[in-house]
Amino acid sequence: MKYIDEFRDGGVAKTLAGRIASAVEPGRSYRFMEFCGGHTHAISRYGLSDLLPRNVRMVHGPGCPVCVLPIGRIDMAIDLALKQGVILCTYGDTLRVPASGGLSLMKAKARGADIRMVYSTLDALQVARGNPQREVVFLAIGFETTTPPTALAIQQAQREQLGNFSVLCCHVLTPAAIRHILQSAGLGQADTVPIDGFIGPAHVSTVIGSRPYEFVAGEYRKPVVIAGFEPLDVMQAILMLVRQVNEGRTEVENEFSRAVSREGNLKAQDRVAEVFELRREFEWRGLSVVPDSALKIRGKYAAFDAERRFSIDYRSVPDNEACECGAILRGVKRPQECRIFGTVCTPENPVGSCMVSSEGACAAHYSYGRYRGLH
């Protein structure tokens, strides 16, 4: 597979591993946060940690949109499907996230809710066209990568006057979350971990460009390297971060230059700006309330906003007491440090969202890496 296989070459991996090992200063510790869930998954799936020197530690950030979706938002989706009889279309990842009352979308489906998994908003629009007598709601989750397709779907629905289609918008923003993490660390809050640099998300960056991360380098004096999706990209990015740290530089570097520019995809950004506006604040699982970090649908498209169309209110629901997803999403704790990891909370019976999504730190560690530290 072109542009994929070359970036997974094991021989080159060894060379890069050697270069990282030579670059790190002995006795110095490096902690880098990879923000994007896709990177968390890649690191686990390819066993990247085995190729890094001991003093380089990857901290998993809250870049998994399923993991940061608060229970209350899933409850809204379940309510729509179970009590208000809509056809709820969703990406597969949200199906097993545990919500209130022992329910999940999957369990609501077992109780008779019409919940359908889709790979794309294009499919959701098809469902709406094919079921003109029913209300169809699309559960829109995701960071900036997934937002433009939702914007297009809403505009398409308006063009077609698809009166039975609406969107429950849970889109969240990456730079705001990074700022929140840095701010908490900066204010010296006890419950955070010092980060030496960030691996910037791959595909979010194709849309928003590298510019939005410049505040990280400028205001907070931390290096950022935007990395492609493949394991060699991640290793190269780690090398570049190590070098920045050693040389005392704080810049935004772009390793994923084959797909990311400074400006990003302006056409996609325009569509998003046409359809969405900022919510003043939004609750993130693990980060609590973060200002200017999420999107809502503009008044112009109110007819397609499920929150205005149906009577559903957001109620904040606290996590299970024993659940450490919050600390894990902030990189403060590792999955194995959660009391219920692997026992009460497993991929079959997830208590928190970090275990449900394959990109979640806990699921990734359980499925790929839980042999570590046991022998």
Binding site: M1, K2, Y3, I4, E6, F7, V12, T15, L16, R19, S22, C36, G37, G38, H41, G63, C64, P65, V66, Y91, D93, Y119, S120, T121, L122, D123, I141, G142, T145, T146, P148, P149, L152, P201, A202, H203, T206, V207, G228, F229, L232, D233, Q236, E255, F256, S257, R258, A259, V260, N265, K267, A268, R271, S357, E359
Partner: protein, 77 residues
Amino acid sequence: MCLALPVKVIELGAGDMAIVDLDGVRREISLALLDDVNVGDYVILHVGYALSKLDPDEAEKTLALFAGMNEAGLVTP
């Protein structure tokens, strides 16, 4: 969720749709988020949409970077 892949455009269709190919597997996707895509271009595919075009020159440069070439084309340690 972040699942995004570089795929090759092999056919342009009506209304922003296109057929892409990955090693012999073909799928219909939307190019509505991009301008100026031609048959033979590679795009990054995510949830049914192409998000950006892949720049083959930059891809080669990145691979060369992995191999340790610096700007002068020399291998650095």
